[in-house]
């Protein structure tokens, strides 16, 4: 019983991390209509920035600087690599994004070496909950993710900027005609996505205190899976997909017979969902026009 409970809570917390990354994916995909492959690697940059700024010995300052650093990086990438390709074929944008992802990974390995670095941000400790030992950091992760999701939903629904985002995602040309600064909106979206990625990097460090150049690649792909499961472009969908995927992963790790195949199981779920319901659980269907 205790084991089941702790597995569930671990699943929820891992799902929270995936949801956090998936939120960034979903916002960028919804508004810029591109799969930002480098999103996962911004998590890694966030992790390294926290590692560097932990020299100040103050976790809050380190986290703040890491978020700011990631936002600057995300916006720079958008301006240099993605903006020149606006209006070009989606294939070109996708390949550039893969190039950026690859570049960030190799730059990190050049700067920090290929060995894994250890960094402890903050020790939250653990509590006993109905007989099961639960890391407080897991609860913090989950709480912050839910709060961020709610805040984003409200932001998109009720602020001028948020509604401008919806307008751009619905029809970029029409939005431009209505006087919305489309480029500005896309930049802001990238900034928000990168900030979320930095927070996801923080949660990874709370879960396992190690940073390496490729730490973001796998979570990035899995979070995209989560975003697709929930329905890309939908904020609650990203949350749902993230939690679902985190649960599947933690439960699968607990069952010895299928534990080595966990990644394969998650990706098979992705393929199945895309085949059966390509728009995910909460996504909207779009008709393609000539």
């Amino acid at each position: 019983m205790e084991e089941i409970l702790s597995t569930l809570i671990n699943g929820l917390s891992l799902g929270g991390i995936y949801a956090m990354i998936a939120l960034g994916y979903t916002m960028v995909y919804g508004i810029a209509k591109m799969l930002n492959f480098a999103h996962g690697d911004i998590i890694m940059v966030g992790g390294y920035l926290i590692y560097v700024f932990m020299a100040t010995k103050n976790p809050l300052i380190a986290i703040l600087l890491a978020v700011v650093g990631c936002v600057i990086l995300g916006v720079t990438i958008e301006k240099i690599a993605y903006k020149p390709l606006r209006g070009a074929s989606p294939l070109a944008v996708l390949i550039t994004a893969i190039g950026v992802s690859y570049m960030l990974q190799s730059l990190a390995q050049i700067i920090f070496g290929s060995a894994t670095q250890m960094v402890t941000v903050y020790e939250f400790g653990a509590v006993k909950l109905m007989g099961a030992t639960v890391q407080i950091s897991s609860l913090v992760t989950l709480g912050v993710t839910v709060a961020v999701m709610l805040a984003l939903t409200l932001f998109v629904k009720f602020t001028r900027l948020g509604r401008a985002m919806i307008a751009v995602s619905e029809d970029r040309d029409a939005a431009q005609l209505m006087g919305i600064n489309v480029n500005g909106i896309i930049t802001i979206t990238f900034a928000i996505g990168s900030a979320l990625a930095a927070l996801a990097g923080l949660f990874y460090l709370l879960k396992a205190p190690a940073v390496s150049g490729t730490m973001g690649a796998m979570p990035g792909i899995k979070a995209f899976t989560a975003a697709v499961i929930g329905g890309i472009g939908s904020i609650p969908g990203a949350m749902l997909g993230g939690i679902l995927l985190g649960m599947v992963e933690c439960i699968s790790y607990k069952i010895t017979a299928i534990a080595p195949y966990t990644d394969a199981i998650e990706f098979s779920i992705l393929i199945l969902i895309l085949l059966v319901r390509p728009t995910g659980f909460l996504g909207k269907k779009r008709r393609e026009k000539v």
């Binding site: 799969l35 390709l85 070009a88 989606p90 550039t96 893969i98 190039g99 690649a217 792909i221 990706f267």
Partner: protein
Amino acid sequence: MRIGKFKLNHYINYIVIGILTLVLSVMTFTGSRFDNSLLFLLEKMAISIILAVSLSLVVGFLGELSLGHAGFMCVGAYLGGKVAVLLAPALGNGILTLLISLLAGAAVAALCGVIIGIPALRLRGDYLAIVTLAFGEIVKSLFMNSSDESFGGTLGLDTPRFDKKYLFIIAFVLVLITLAVVQNYIRSKHGRAVTAIRDNEIAARATGINVTKYKLLTFILSAAFAGIAGVLYSFSNYTVQSIKFGYNYSIEILVMVVLGGMGNINGSIVAAALITWLNTWLPTKLTGDLAVLQNLLYALILIVIVIYNNAPALKSFRDRYNLGNLINKVLKPKADPSHIKDDKAKWDVVPTKISMDEILSIDMKQQSGPDPEQKGGKR
């Protein structure tokens, strides 16, 4: 260049690779002994060329991104290697074993191509890229967790040792076969259908092209040749480890295709040879942490070339300075305009509606003769 009906451009790659193969095989059979590392490099180049040409089929001509090409290769390498292991005691390490395992690897990879091709019918672009990536990871994970007796698990599968002396010749013959199949596919009715689907799927469907058939066919062909490359790899390397066929390897193949120019087979061949050579040469220069510089180089190649080739803002610059124009300028310096007759130059331009009217009116005037008053001045 044309010599009668024979278009040199269409066959230049067969001729170059064919002559190279012929020279090297004659040297081998007359007793020249090549350095083992050179043989290994040649085999690797052949494998890369097959991979790049087959990926180019999907990326350059169908216009879909496949990030699981290494996955198809992995399937081919393991299955082909396993068949060779099973057959070697009965048939020996000869060419027969190699041929059968090549066929087996290609067939199983083609089957995987069908499996991936079916989602490809419903999905486009980013989603398809992720599905192919997922496929690659699933394949890698399945082989990595296989039992020791079946596919060797994490240690990998050891394959029979084929005579190194002749393997590269077979590899290059396979390159020629790949080129023959892929180029004929592209230059036929099928190829035009595939490029029509790339340019506008809905319009292609509307003109009666069977999109399902051509998409599946392209995926199957591409996967089958990746499988062949995999079998070659297993023979060239003596051992197959699933860890080699990860995402990074798929990206490396993609770099070859992008560097060569998407949809340009000759370019892919040159780029594949170049990147393979860089892969063996750079690690001797860059050691330790600098080894990552190689990945950085590939990343920059991807970003810079794609932005240069696709950015809408750079279009006029591209048109002015593209490689073909520059080569033409060097080959035919100072085209003297006085030699070009007006009449000839006009046929190069496809007449638009307005210019067609002008041409017609000029013809009418000439026909109506020098005296306009005879017909009342107006046509």
